[in-house]
C-alpha cells in the first residue's frame, strides 16, 4: 500500500493520530462546546449556530411542556404486617344486609377492600354471590354514609346520645320503649339484645322486614305449631312448582336456591336427567324465564289453581279437601307429576297471603316433602319480621304511645304505606334514635342518628340457617366516626366489653363445644375466622306433625278490575341499595330496563287500553310510566318497590317512584297484591332506559334449545347447526397454534339463570364506569358482560332465552385486523387484547365486532360532574382495582378475560416453578357465579373442565358460521317439556358471508 504524507514530519513519524482524535472529539461535542468560551477561537459556522438554536429550543420545549403533574406516593416507614403493596389479602367475612345472607371473601388491596369474592367453603351461599353482594363493596365508600353521630342536621357526641338513651331507658316513663330492627341473624347480637332487655325489661324488640314473608312463618305455626321458614333444598327437588316466587331473583335466599336449582339442571349424556320447573306468575320474573312451563295467571287465579291442585292431591290421598272456587285450568298433569315426585318436589309461593302459604305448607306436607326437600332442622333464620307487631307499633306511635324508639337498619318511613305519617310520628316521639350506616328517610326523621359501621368495617357473626354459624370480620378500619350497633347496645347496657369480646365469648361458650374440636379455642377460632363459616354437625332430626285442619279458604276467585303485583327487582330489591350506581344501572334481567321502575302491563291489556311503552298512567294516584311486557298475565300489572327513594344520596334520590304506598294489609299481613286497581292514561310520556330494544332472535341460531326427550335420543339435538359449521371449518390461512395456554370460557345455558351477579362482579373487578340513565338510553352502557334476553314468538306467554355475552376472544377476530394502529391484537394465549394507550378511537373495531361487545369511552367518565357517580369523588374511587387501568376518554374497552387475574396466577405459579392447575385462574364472572354456569380454563389442557365442555355435543359458538373461532362456548339450553322434537334450527344452512 502506498504511503501518503502531509509533511516531512509526518513522513518521518507517521500521522499524528492524537491530535486528529482530539479534533474529532471536539467536533462531536460541538453543540455543548458552543455554549462555552472554548469556541471563541474557532470560527462558528451557520450550521453551528443552527445546532445551538435547535438544541436550546428543543431543551426549552422538553423542559417546559412535558411536565407531568407530580403525585407523591409516601411509602410506609414501618410496614404493617398484613399489607404488602401490590399484593391483595383476602378475608373471609359475611354479608347480611337485613334480608339476604351471603358468605364472602373480601379482597383487600393496600388496606382497602376492593372486591367481594364468593367464599367457596360457604355452606349456605355455596360459592356464589348475588349482584347486591357484589355491589356492597361500593357502599363502604358511599358519600351518603353517615359520618358521625348527629342530632337532626347538627352534630352530636356519642356521650350525648349514650347519656340520653340510658336516661330514657332507666326512667319509668309512660309509653312503650321499642327497639325496631331488621331481621337479625347474628346469635351474639341476639344475646346482646336479650341482655339489654333483661336490664331494661320495658324494652320491646320488634323485627321489621321491608318486604315481609311473615305469612310463611305463620303458616308453619298453624300447620306444624312451629314458627319457621324451612330450609329449601332445590338440589333435591325433581319437581318445582312455584306460585309467584322469584326464588332465583329475590325470594328469600336466591343465591342458595340458584345453586341448588342449577345442580338439578345439569344435564349430561351419562345422566340425562333434570328437574321440572313449573311457574305460575303474573309478572315476568327471572325465575319464570327459567321455567320449563310458565303460566301467566292473575294472583286470584293462582290461588284457585293452587287450591285445585291441593284438592287433587288431597283426594288421591284420602284427605279432606278445601271448598275451592271453580277453576277452569286443567291441573291433572301437575297433580299426577306431584304424586309421582313425592318427597322429591317443592311447592312454594312468593305471596304473603296467609291462605296461599297454608295451602303450600299443607301440599308439601301431604307430598312428604318435609324432611326431604324441605328441611325442618336447618330452618332459615332470615325474614323474622312480624307484620302484626309492626302494625301495633305504628298505631302506638301515632297515638304518642312511644317514649323511646331505637331503630336499626330499617327504613319504615320509606317502606311503610303510611311512611310520611310514620316519619312525623318518630320525630314526635319522646326520643328516637336511628342506627344504620347510610342516610335514609328514616334517619332524616329521627331525632338522633347513631351511625353504624358498614359490614366490611365491623365484627359480627351470623346464623343464616339454624346450625350454621358464620363469622364476620372487619377488613378496614372504620372510615368515619361510626360505632357498631352492638357496641352501642353494649354501651347502653353498661357493659365494658366490645362486640369483638362478646362474639368471642359467645362462640367460646356456645359454639366451640358443639364443634367437638380437639384443638384449643384460640386455634379453633383462628381457623373459623380464616374459613368464615362453620356448620354444626349431627343435628338431631326434628320433625313436626302437620295439622292440616288449619287450612281453609275464605276468599278466593276472581275479583273485578286489574290486579297489581308489587315485586322486588333484582338490582334494587327493597330500596336499601338505591344509592348504589352499579345496581341502579343493572338492567332488569327480563325487561332490560334500568334506572327506573315502571308498570308492566300485558300485551292484551295494553291494546285494550291503547297504551304503549313509556306512556304515563296513574295507578291509584301514582303517576308511572308503562312498559308493555310480553308474558304478563292479562288482567294484571306489576310494579317494583324499592324505587323512589328521596333521601338516599346523589345517585338514588328520585330514581323511579315509591310503590310501597300501594301495599295493603290483609288478615294482618302485608299484601303485595292490590286488587281492583284503576289505570288512567295521562297522555304524558316518560322515557325509559333499556339496554336491549329488540326482543326476538329473528329465527337466527343464537340461543340453541332442545328438549330433554330429544336430548336423550340425540346428544346433538338442537345443535346440528354446529356440526354443519364444524364441517365447513377450513381456512385459506394456516391455523394459529397456541403453544402454552389457550384460554377459553364455557357457558352452560342450562345452568345460567340470568341472575346478573356476573355483570356486577365484572363492573367491580374491571373499574367499569357508570354512565347514567341518559347515556344508557343512548345505548352507551359500558358493561363488558351483558345478559341478552330473547323472547319466543308468542307475545302472551313467550319463552325466554338468556345468554351472557362478553368478548368472545375470537381466534380470527374481526376487530383485530381493522384497527389501523394495531391497538387491539391477539396474545399468544388466545386473548384478544386492547392497548388503551395505543387506541385512537376510530371505533372500527366496534363496528366490525359481530357480537357488539366492545365499548367506547364516549366521555370522560372519571372526575366529571356530568357523571356524578362513584368515579367522581376521592372516597368512592378507593374501590378501584389498581390492577386495571381506568380508561380515558376516546378509547375502546372490552372484556379481557380478567387478564390481570391470569397474569397474577401465572406469576405465582412461576415463582413456585409449576404450571397452572385447572380452575386456578378464575375471572371475576366465573369466580362468583352461584350456579357454576361459567367455566374458565386452558383449552390446551385435555383434562380441563373447559375443554370437556367445549367438546361436549351441546357446545356451540355464537355466530360460528362467520368462522371467527370464538374462545367462548355455549352449551345448549335444555327444557324439560313434553314431546316435540325441537330441531327447528336445522333449517338454517351454513352460509359463509
Amino acid at each position: 500500500m502506498e504511503k501518503y504524507w502531509r509533511s516531512l514530519d509526518e513522513y518521518k513519524n507517521g500521522p499524528d493520530d492524537q491530535t486528529e482524535k482530539v479534533v474529532e472529539e471536539e467536533q462531536k461535542n460541538l453543540v455543548l462546546d458552543l455554549a462555552s468560551d472554548k469556541i471563541a477561537g474557532v470560527s462558528a459556522s451557520r450550521r453551528d449556530f443552527l445546532k445551538l438554536v435547535g438544541f436550546s429550543f428543543a431543551t426549552a420545549a422538553i423542559t417546559s411542556s412535558c411536565e407531568k403533574p407530580v403525585q407523591k406516593a409516601i411509602p410506609y416507614l414501618v410496614k404493617p404486617e398484613e399489607i404488602t403493596p401490590g399484593k391483595s389479602s383476602y378475608y373471609a367475612t359475611s354479608f347480611f344486609d337485613g334480608t339476604e345472607y351471603c358468605s364472602v371473601v373480601a379482597k383487600v388491596r393496600d388496606g382497602r377492600p376492593i372486591k367481594i369474592e364468593a367464599n367457596e367453603l360457604a355452606p349456605v351461599s355455596g360459592g356464589g354471590t348475588s349482584a347486591r353482594v357484589q355491589a356492597s363493596v361500593l357502599e363502604l365508600y358511599d358519600q351518603a354514609r353517615l359520618k358521625g353521630p348527629a342530632k337532626g342536621s347538627n352534630g352530636a357526641t356519642w356521650e350525648e346520645i349514650d347519656e340520653l338513651v340510658v336516661r330514657t331507658l332507666r326512667n319509668p316513663t309512660p309509653g312503650r320503649k321499642v327497639l325496631l330492627t331488621s331481621t337479625i341473624i347474628s346469635p351474639t347480637t341476639k344475646k346482646i339484645i336479650n341482655d339489654l332487655q333483661s336490664t331494661y325489661p320495658e324494652l320491646e324488640w320488634i323485627v321489621y322486614d321491608e318486604v315481609s314473608s311473615a305469612a310463611i312463618r305463620d303458616a308453619h305455626q298453624e300447620v306444624f305449631g312451629k314458627n319457621m321458614i324451612p330450609g329449601y333444598h332445590f338440589d333435591k327437588a325433581d319437581y318445582i312448582l312455584s306460585f309467584d316466587a322469584d326464588f332465583l331473583g329475590t325470594w328469600l335466599s336466591p343465591v342458595e336456591f340458584a345453586a341448588g336449582y342449577a345442580k338439578k339442571r345439569e344435564v349430561t349424556k351419562e345422566r340425562p336427567e333434570m328437574s321440572k320447573h313449573v311457574q305460575f306468575e303474573s309478572g315476568y320474573s327471572i325465575t319464570g324465564a327459567n321455567a320449563d312451563d310458565r303460566h301467566p295467571v292473575t294472583p286470584a287465579k293462582s290461588k284457585a289453581i293452587l287450591a285445585k291442585i291441593y284438592n287433587g292431591v288431597a283426594s288421591r290421598q284420602g284427605i279432606a279437601g278445601l271448598s275451592a272456587p271453580e277453576c277452569d285450568v286443567e291441573v291433572e298433569d301437575i297433580v299426577a307429576d306431584l304424586l309421582r315426585h313425592q318427597a322429591a318436589s317443592i311447592i312454594i309461593s312468593g305471596s304473603n297471603d296467609q291462605e296461599m302459604q297454608l295451602m303450600v305448607a299443607g301440599l308439601n306436607a301431604m307430598l312428604g316433602n318435609y324432611g326431604a326437600t324441605l328441611d325442618m332442622n336447618r330452618t332459615m333464620n332470615i325474614r323474622q319480621g312480624s307484620d302484626k307487631d309492626f302494625a301495633a307499633l305504628r298505631s302506638s306511635l301515632k297515638n304518642n304511645g312511644v317514649s323511646l324508639l331505637i331503630m336499626h337498619n330499617v327504613n319504615p318511613v320509606f317502606s311503610d304505606p303510611d311512611g310520611d305519617d310514620f316519619g312525623y310520628a318518630i320525630n314526635a316521639a319522646a326520643l328516637s334514635v336511628y342506627i344504620g350506616h347510610s342516610f335514609s328517610e328514616t334517619a332524616k326523621n329521627s331525632q338522633y342518628v347513631a351511625p353504624d359501621h358498614h359490614y366490611l368495617e365491623a365484627w359480627g357473626d351470623a346464623a343464616p340457617v339454624k346450625g350454621t354459624f358464620c363469622l364476620q370480620q372487619p377488613t378496614i378500619n372504620p372510615l368515619y366516626n361510626t360505632r357498631s350497633f352492638q357496641d352501642s347496645l353494649l354501651k347502653w347496657n353498661g357493659a365494658e366489653e366490645t362486640v369483638y369480646d362478646a362474639i368471642k365469648a359467645y362462640w367460646e361458650e356456645n359454639i366451640y363445644p358443639l364443634s367437638g374440636a380437639a384443638m384449643s379455642f384460640t386455634d379453633w377460632w383462628n381457623t373459623q375466622l380464616q374459613q368464615g363459616a362453620f356448620i354444626v354437625g349431627g343435628n338431631p332430626s326434628i320433625s313436626y306433625e302437620p295439622d292440616l285442619s288449619a287450612i281453609a279458604l275464605q276468599s278466593a276467585g276472581e275479583t273485578a278490575g286489574m290486579a297489581l303485583t308489587l315485586y322486588t327487582s333484582v338490582g334494587i330489591v327493597d330500596g336499601r341499595h338505591a344509592n348504589n350506581p352499579w345496581l341502579q344501572e343493572l338492567p332488569d334481567p327480563v325487561t332490560k330496563v334500568c334506572w327506573d321502575n315502571y308498570l308492566a302491563v300485558s300485551v292484551d291489556d295494553a291494546r285494550e287500553m291503547e297504551l304503549k311503552d313509556e306512556d304515563v298512567v296513574t295507578v291509584n294516584g301514582l303517576r308511572i310510566p308503562v312498559l308493555v311486557q310480553p308474558g304478563q298475565a292479562k288482567g294484571t300489572c306489576s310494579l317494583a318497590v324499592g324505587y323512589g327513594r328521596t333521601v338516599s344520596g346523589k345517585v338514588g334520590d328520585n330514581v323511579g317512584l315509591n310503590a310501597f304506598g300501594l301495599v295493603t294489609e290483609k288478615n294482618g299481613f302485608r299484601s303485595y297484591t292490590v286488587e281492583g286497581i284503576v289505570i288512567e292514561k295521562t297522555g304524558d310520556t316518560y322515557p325509559l332506559a333499556r339496554t336491549q330494544t329488540h326482543h326476538t332472535m329473528e329465527d337466527r341460531p343464537i340461543v340453541r334449545e332442545t328438549t330433554l326427550e330429544a336430548y336423550k335420543k340425540d346428544p346433538n339435538a338442537g345443535n346440528h347447526f354446529h356440526l354443519d359449521a364444524e364441517a365447513h371449518h377450513y381456512s385459506l390461512y394456516p391455523e394459529t397454534n397456541f403453544d402454552g395456554y389457550h384460554w377459553g370460557l364455557a357457558i352452560d345455558l342450562n345452568k345460567c339463570v340470568g341472575c346478573n351477579n356476573c355483570v356486577v362482579s365484572c363492573i367491580a373487578e374491571n373499574n367499569i364506569a357508570t354512565v347514567g340513565k341518559e347515556e344508557v338510553k343512548n345505548r352507551r352502557i359500558m358493561h363488558w358482560l351483558r345478559i341478552d334476553r330473547y323472547y319466543s314468538e308468542d307475545v302472551n306467554n313467550p319463552k325466554s332465552y338468556l345468554q351472557p355475552v362478553m368478548c368472545q376472544h375470537c381466534d380470527h377476530a374481526p376487530c383485530e385486523n381493522v384497527c389501523p394502529v394495531a391497538a387491539t391484537m391477539h396474545s399468544s394465549e388466545g386473548l384478544n387484547q386492547v392497548a388503551y394507550v395505543r387506541c385512537i378511537g376510530t371505533k372500527y373495531c366496534i363496528n366490525n365486532c359481530p357480537y357488539r361487545v366492545r365499548r367506547f369511552n364516549w366521555f370522560k367518565y372519571v372526575n366529571n360532574d356530568d357523571f356524578n357517580f362513584h368515579l367522581n369523588d376521592d372516597t368512592s374511587k378507593m374501590v378501584l382495582n389498581p390492577d386495571v387501568t381506568v380508561r380515558s376518554r376516546g378509547v375502546v374497552e372490552k372484556c379481557s378475560f380478567c387478564v390481570q387475574r391470569i397474569q397474577e396466577k401465572k406469576l405465582e405459579a412461576k415463582l413456585e416453578g409449576r404450571s397452572l392447575e385447572d380452575g386456578e385462574v378464575q375471572p371475576a364472572c366465573v369466580q362468583s357465579c352461584p350456579t357454576n354456569a361459567l367455566v374458565f380454563g386452558d383449552m390446551n389442557n385435555k383434562e380441563a373442565k373447559v375443554t370437556k365442555h367445549i367438546q361436549n355435543e351441546r357446545n356451540y359458538h355464537l355466530l360460528e358460521q362467520l368462522h371467527t373461532l370464538p374462545s367462548v362456548g355455549y352449551l345448549t339450553k335444555v327444557r324439560n317439556v313434553e314431546g316435540k322434537d325441537e330441531d327447528d334450527e336445522d333449517h338454517h344452512t351454513v352460509s359463509h358471508s
Partner: protein
C-alpha cells in the same frame, strides 16, 4: 380524431384571445359584488358553526354525537364518503377527459378541480374528527418511533384510507395548481395593481410562456394526470374497503370498489353540474360553458345513473342469491322495507330513476330541470351513504344489540360547517382565481375553423 364541424365550436361568440383573457379574469378586477359578500357571510357563519361543533367534539368527546356502541359510525363517516365522492369530479373530469382527448372539458375542468380540492379537504376533517383521541392521530403515520418501534397495522383499511386520501389530496392539489400557473402569469402580466402583480407573480413561479416551458408543462400535466387517474380509481376503491373488508352484512361485498368509484364520479359530476350552472348564470359565461357542455355532462350522468341502478339491483340480487339470512335481512327487511325504507327509496329514486329523465333532449336542455336533478343526485348520494353506514350497523348479527341512531345538533353543525367551508372555498376561487382555464380555452377556441391542434 373527431370532426369538429359536426360538433360545432366549443367556445361561442368567435372571440379573440384578448377577449377571452379579459372576460375570464374580469371577476378578479371587479369589486366584489353584493351576492358574493352575502355568500361569504353565510358561509362564514356556517363555518363558525362548524368550528363550534368541532370544538365541542374535541373538548367534550364523541359522546356529543348520536353514535353509540352499536352504530359506531354516523354522520361523520356518511359525510366523509359523500365529500370524497364529490371530490372525485374534478380529477375524474380533467384526467379521464384529458386521456380521452375530450377537448370540451377545458371550460369546466378548472372549477371541477377546485371543487375537488375543497371537497377532499372537507372530507378529511371527518376521519380525523371522529377519532376518540384526535390528538393521537399521528399514531396512524408509519414512522420510525421510540415505542418499539411500533408500526401501524398494514392490514387495516383505515390505514390504506389514510394513505389513499393523503396521496389523492396532494396529487389533485398539485395538478390543480399546475394548471393554474399559466393563468396566474396572465393575470400578473395584465394587472395594474402592484399587490396583485406580486401575489399572482409569486404563484406564477416565473412563468414566461416559452416553448420549452410549455413542453415541460404539458409533460408534467400528463404525468400528474396519469398518477391522478390511478388515484381516482384507487381512492374510492379503498374508501369502499372500509366497509367491504368488514364482516357486517350489507358491507361485506366485492361489488363495493367499482360501485363506490362509479358512485363517486356520479356525485362529483352532479356537483360539477350544479356549480357550472351557477357560475354560468352569475358570471354570464354562456359562451364558454355552453349548453353543449351541460348536455355532455348530463349524458354522462344518465349513463352513470344506469350503472348505479345496476349496482343497487346487483346488491339486492346477490343478497337473495347467496341465501345468507343476514344479508337478506339487511337488504330486504332493513333497507327496502323496515325502519329505513324512506332513506332507501330516496336513494333509489334520486340516483337510479330521476336521472333517467335526462334521456330526453328537452329535459337535458332545460337548465332549470337539469340543475334540480343535479341537486337531487347529490341528495340521493348522501342517502346512499346513509343506507350503507347506518342500516348495516344498526341491525347486524345479534338482535340484542340492535340500536337506533339519530344525529345530534353537534354532528349536524359539523356537517353544515363543511358546507360552509366548501362554499367559502368555492367563493374565494370565483373571486381570485380564473375559474376557467384561460390557456386551455384559448387552445380550443378556434377548433372549429382551425383544425390544427
Amino acid at each position: 380524431m373527431y370532426k369538429t364541424e359536426i360538433r360545432g365550436p366549443l367556445i361561442l361568440g368567435n372571440k379573440t384571445l384578448g377577449q377571452i383573457s379579459e372576460e375570464i379574469t374580469s371577476p378578479i378586477y371587479q369589486r366584489p359584488k353584493m351576492w358574493w359578500l352575502v355568500g361569504m357571510g353565510i358561509s362564514s357563519i356556517l363555518m363558525l358553526l362548524g368550528f363550534w361543533g368541532i370544538y365541542v367534539t374535541i373538548a367534550t368527546g364523541i359522546g356529543t354525537w348520536g353514535v353509540n356502541n352499536t352504530v359506531g359510525w354516523g354522520w361523520a363517516i356518511i359525510n366523509f364518503v359523500w365529500w370524497i365522492g364529490i371530490g372525485h369530479a374534478g380529477t375524474a373530469f380533467s384526467i379521464f377527459l384529458l386521456i380521452l382527448r375530450q377537448e370540451w372539458r377545458s371550460s369546466i375542468n378548472r372549477a371541477a378541480e377546485a371543487m375537488t380540492v375543497v371537497a377532499v379537504g372537507c372530507a378529511a376533517i371527518f376521519p380525523a374528527l371522529h377519532m376518540g383521541r384526535v390528538w393521537d392521530a399521528f399514531f396512524i403515520f408509519p414512522y420510525p418511533n421510540t415505542r418499539g418501534p411500533l408500526w401501524v397495522n398494514y392490514n387495516s383499511p383505515l390505514f390504506w384510507d389514510f394513505i389513499a386520501i393523503t396521496a389523492y389530496l396532494l396529487i389533485s392539489a398539485s395538478f390543480w395548481f399546475l394548471g393554474m400557473i399559466p393563468d396566474f402569469a396572465t393575470i400578473r402580466d395584465t394587472t395594474k395593481s402592484k399587490v396583485k402583480k406580486a401575489v399572482y407573480g409569486f404563484f406564477a413561479m416565473g412563468w414566461r410562456g416559452s416553448v420549452g416551458e410549455w413542453k415541460r408543462y404539458e409533460g408534467l400535466a400528463f404525468v400528474l394526470g396519469g398518477i391522478a387517474a390511478v388515484l381516482v380509481v384507487s381512492v374510492h376503491s379503498i374508501v369502499s374497503t372500509d366497509f367491504a373488508v368488514s364482516v357486517e352484512p350489507g358491507w361485506h361485498t366485492t361489488l363495493f370498489p367499482p360501485y363506490f368509484v362509479v358512485g363517486a364520479i356520479f356525485s362529483g359530476f352532479a356537483m360539477v353540474m350544479t356549480l357550472m350552472v351557477i357560475i354560468r348564470k352569475i358570471y354570464k359565461l354562456h359562451d364558454y360553458i355552453t349548453n353543449r357542455h351541460l348536455d355532455n355532462v348530463a349524458k354522462i350522468l344518465v349513463f352513470v345513473s344506469l350503472i348505479m341502478g345496476t349496482a343497487y339491483l346487483t346488491e339486492i340480487f346477490i343478497a337473495w342469491y347467496s341465501a345468507n339470512e343476514y344479508e337478506m335481512f339487511t337488504l330486504f327487511r332493513n333497507r327496502i322495507t323496515g325502519e329505513y325504507t324512506v332513506q332507501f327509496w330516496i336513494m333509489f329514486i334520486c340516483n337510479a330513476l330521476i336521472p333517467q329523465l335526462m334521456w330526453f333532449k328537452k329535459i337535458r336542455h332545460n337548465i332549470k330541470i337539469v340543475f334540480v336533478i343535479s341537486i337531487l343526485i347529490n341528495l340521493g348520494m348522501w342517502f346512499e351513504r346513509f343506507n350503507i353506514v347506518i342500516t348495516s350497523l344498526a341491525k347486524d348479527y345479534l338482535p340484542s344489540a340492535w340500536a337506533d341512531y339519530s344525529p345530534t345538533f353537534v354532528e349536524i353543525a359539523v356537517f353544515l360547517g363543511t358546507l360552509g367551508i366548501f362554499a367559502f372555498g368555492v367563493l374565494l376561487f370565483f373571486k381570485y382565481i380564473p375559474m376557467i382555464a384561460i390557456h386551455e380555452v384559448k387552445m380550443v377556441n378556434k377548433l372549429k375553423t382551425d383544425k390544427k391542434k
